[in-house]
Subunit: 279 residues, 2 copies
Amino acid sequence: MTDTALHPFDRAVALQPVAGQANLYEGHTSQDYWNMVGPFGGATAAVLLQGALRHPQLLGNPVSLTVNYAAAVVAGAFQVEAIPVRTNRSTQHWLLQLTQADETGEQQVTTTATLVTALRRETWSLTDLPFPNLAPASDFEPMSPAAKGVAWPKQYEMRPVSGAFPTKWDGTGETSRSQLWMRDAQPRPLDFLSLAALSDIFYPRVWLRRATPVPAGTVSITTYFHTDAAQLAEVGTGYLLGDARAQEFRNGFFDQSAQLWSESGALLATSNQIVYYKE
Amino acid sequence: MTDTALHPFDRAVALQPVAGQANLYEGHTSQDYWNMVGPFGGATAAVLLQGALRHPQLLGNPVSLTVNYAAAVVAGAFQVEAIPVRTNRSTQHWLLQLTQADETGEQQVTTTATLVTALRRETWSLTDLPFPNLAPASDFEPMSPAAKGVAWPKQYEMRPVSGAFPTKWDGTGETSRSQLWMRDAQPRPLDFLSLAALSDIFYPRVWLRRATPVPAGTVSITTYFHTDAAQLAEVGTGYLLGDARAQEFRNGFFDQSAQLWSESGALLATSNQIVYYKE
């Protein structure tokens, strides 16, 4: 299989081990997932997660991932360091970093992350949030990603149910909540990597709430995974329902709280982020 | 002022710089904030935050703090390492670690954390969640902390409004939501450290939802701060309203989503955690 036969997402999260360095991988940014001034944050989250998932010492599956966007990632090569700092009987704690060489060749940190993975056992379980009672994805039109120079939205099929991307920037916003059906535009079975990326798919809540396009960017995102390989396989290439809203906009930062459901009503992931905005 | 003249919380989060080590501090666990098998997780979060807040290179105030509880902290001395990994014009990214010496004297990681601090400017701001319409704290009885060997609840005045600690473990739980008025039992003006600690005050949601006392413990907590020094000073020693609920209980882990409000309806912090539970 040649590289171009790979799904664009698999190319974007591809990592090669650095010879002789146990915890170090090399990768390359993807133009397919390019955002305005760097890669789509969801792709960066996924590539950091990938550093742990392909590590020979990995224990279990992802439970909690926090990614901090410290500086813009520039187009080109990067390194991912994935350190298993503590391995317990059923949980494992990771430190992850994405670095890029500066003009002198020295690696500089652009992104930091922490990850908890775990071997999970079947226990009493319960979804304590009602599954939104929405019409199926086929009832809603796919949005057409438009903005020039921004490639990543083309990688996703997004069918807004409510809170669609503003069409008029006239300051009339009334809500910060968006619900949409979503999946990879080119079919790809859901896995932890794409679930991590999809958790960051929601455009800045401040644009919706204000109907005003101020500069904004995610500073830190935390995703909790409530699923396993068997359930991911059931979802396959089906739609997810994304539901996101803000709670507080205050002096340059707002938070966003999101749920990612399967079509059959399984709450696969809950995700929160804090986002910088201007003005 | 002698040590015993300090507030118990100030003793619990006290750190001393290690001579000749720019990013390293020493501290000691506090019996006042002891939980069942280690310190109250909120106190551990606060002491990690303290490592950055007293660092000479600190820029601005806390925006986002994630703390990962990798291993139990034992009674005794510990070290906090606080590394400013990236300083931008208005934001700063930190890596924090709490370590304790093992029997050979080598420092082992018990807790990892990441922190974002920022210089904040006044911007358009909005609380996009309704302030719960509750009667004042004085209308509700303080709960009497009881459990043997668990000291930390005595450090807080907690007045449950709903979702109080179960009095019967009979499997009849119906909700995962708790609302309570809370503040330090011994008055102490609110600051970022105590706000970080209070974000972890809620007992495990799985106990409430099931009315069943299974083993449970926080694995990772993320708190977003939406406040500043002036607003904290206004709150002073007043009550906060804590509101917490779970979204998903699944195969050994549940999430908790919480809001911390001032009495006058300012949303000071929003916090999420993922919690291990058994059975």
